[in-house]
């Protein structure tokens, strides 16, 4: 546990000293701020526009942070050969990987917290109330970022940072569009084709399970089951992805 925590701390330190993170944070802040401009140009409920664009900005930049930093950090250790001295220390390979993951989760926690704060302040400027319901959507987004981090780490265990980023981006996009398979399944007639699509739907990620932005923006209730299903889905998926990453990483030669 000490080794995982030490590596997590160092990963956090590395990420917060990386300019890329601040660049992303700046653009995230600017995008949330942009919601204010869009609200002025829109007829109707301005606050809804602020919330909608703000949450979308958090979702987009959070995912980008998870993918870009997630794929970069492990690959950088291998590319820069810092892993040579690290694995010569009394740590096991899975501790290294879990430490990296924990450090990144910590970074995402802080960054999502900062982005949420900007959004809450902006909404406060309009309504003079702290809309804590926004944090419900952010909670589900955070689960998505954590899952994306695990995926990014898995890809970076055997691929270059650029390819890993593309694969992770692919995972993100598939995750947000795989719900359309359900519609397809409904329209298909029973047979082997439908079984294949059904199998595909089970295998592919469904990140829409973690998307409650619309409900929060429009004041709709989040189904009670979602509070259990969403986190359970994210935790199990993350654990499986991490387990695969550990298996890949455990047998890898660092030439």
């Amino acid at each position: 546990m000490t080794a995982i925590w030490t590596i997590a701390r160092n990963t956090f330190k590395e990420a917060v000293r990386d300019r890329v993170l601040y660049l992303l944070l700046f653009f995230a802040g600017a995008s949330i701020g942009l919601s204010q401009v869009l609200a002025l140009l829109t007829v109707g409920d301005r606050v809804k526009i602020v919330k909608d664009v703000g949450l979308a900005a958090i979702a987009f930049f959070g995912a980008l942070m998870a993918i870009l930093i997630g794929t970069g950090l492990v690959a950088k250790e291998i590319e820069k050969r810092t892993i040579f001295t690290l694995l010569a220390k009394p740590i096991r390979r899975h501790e290294f990987l879990l430490g990296k993951f924990a450090g990144l989760v910590l970074v995402l926690l802080v960054m999502t917290g900062l982005m949420s704060l900007v959004l809450l302040l902006l909404v406060f400027a309009h309504t003079l109330t702290v809309d804590l319901k926004l944090l419900a959507a952010v909670f589900f987004l955070l689960l998505e970022f954590i899952l994306l981090t695990a995926v990014a780490i898995l890809f970076s265990c055997f691929s270059t940072p650029i390819l890993s980023s593309l694969y992770s981006l692919g995972f993100y996009l598939i995750g947000h569009f795989s719900w359309s398979l359900v519609t397809l399944i409904k329209k298909m007639s029973p047979g082997p084709g439908r079984t294949v699509v059904r199998g595909l739907h089970l295998l592919l990620p469904d990140l829409e399970i973690l998307n409650y932005k619309t409900e929060v923006v429009h004041g709709l209730p989040i189904p009670a089951a979602a509070w259990l299903a969403g986190p359970a889905y994210a935790v199990v998926y993350t654990a499986v992805v991490l387990a695969i990453a550990v298996l890949v990483f455990r047998r890898r030669d660092f030439v």
Partner: protein, 305 residues
């Protein structure tokens, strides 16, 4: 004296290229390092030195053979707790300062805070890096990285220190300092394994050596046993004796200032040159008997394989 490191028939092959072609890098390495000795692992570039070290550290997995460290499996964290390692061309976290960097590694060993606060400044002082303690590593020169790398290798007060080309990239003064540190480790009873292709370093520091060429250990043993004390030839530099007269006793080379360097291969030849100098009341500038060096053995081995 207990055995600190033991490799038995370690083999490793890599698959290279688009259509994978197997290249056998280690072809059955067996070597043993005893407690308290400075062991030199010598070989030309590409011989398999670093690959052997990487196998020992668990960075790559051998295809066959066994590796034991302190009597345990080399992958056992308990074995690694007593190990210090400095890689060739060290790359470290350039966003950390020297103190943060050493503190990070110390924490990985679970070293308590009070020991860390005493040990880190001591190691920085030992490697002459105390003035750069709060500088980020990205501002370090290669020599400075080598020094701070050595400091991290010693952060856990290891019993076994593995140094991969530790004297590379250092100026003459830096080389001497690092050599002195290694000798200090030996005097403190530590076991040191270091790889090098610079033979003088190995000759100066090591008690035992292993020579690896083309993935095979060609020779292993005490340096004194490998290198013969026998005089191969004697180089005598004289002035005041005609070159033609000296040529009868050995090979002559004219040097500036009317000096002649004559290379004499036997004892009577040396006597004859000295006699000529005495008779002609000439001058001897130097007389150097050349014994066999590690370089001679090494060059012979590389040539014959």
């Amino acid at each position: 004296m207990s055995r600190v490191l033991e490799l038995e028939n370690v083999q490793k092959a890599f698959k290279l290229g688009f259509i994978p072609k197997t290249r056998q890098v280690l072809k059955g390495i067996s070597l043993a390092v005893d407690e308290g000795e400075v062991f030199g692992y010598l070989g030309p570039n590409g011989a398999g030195k670093t690959t052997t070290i990487k196998c020992v550290l668990g960075l790559i997995f051998p295809d066959a053979g066994t590796i034991r460290m302190f009597g345990r499996s080399y992958l056992d964290p308990k074995a690694k707790a007593g190990l210090g390692f400095l890689p060739e061309n060290p790359y470290f976290y350039d966003y950390l300062t020297a103190v943060e960097f050493l503190d990070f590694y110390a924490r990985l060993f679970g070293i308590p805070a009070e020991v860390r606060s005493e040990r880190i400044p001591r190691l920085l002082k030992m490697t002459s890096m105390e003035r750069a303690a709060d500088l980020p590593l990205r501002k370090f020169s290669r020599g400075m990285l080598q020094r701070v790398g050595l400091a991290q290798a010693l952060i856990n007060d290891p019993s076994l220190v593995i140094l991969d080309e530790p004297l590379g990239g250092l100026d003459p003064l830096g080389r001497k300092e690092i050599r002195d540190i290694i000798l200090g480790l030996r005097d403190a009873g530590k076991t040191v394994v270091f790889t090098s292709h610079i033979l003088q370093d190995i000759e100066m520091i090591c008690r035992r050596v292993a020579i690896i060429v083309g993935g095979r250990i060609l020779s292993q043993g005490r340096l004194a046993d490998l290198v013969s004390e026998k005089v191969l030839f004697t180089e005598i530099t004289v002035s005041g004796v005609p070159e033609a007269e000296l040529a009868a006793h050995g090979e002559c080379v004219s040097e500036p200032g009317g000096r002649v360097m004559v290379k004499v291969y036997d004892e009577p030849g040396v006597e004859a040159v000295l006699e000529s100098v005495r008779v002609r009341r000439a001058r001897i500038h130097s007389l150097v008997p050349r014994t066999q060096t590690l370089e001679d053995i090494f060059v012979d081995m590389v040539k014959t394989t």
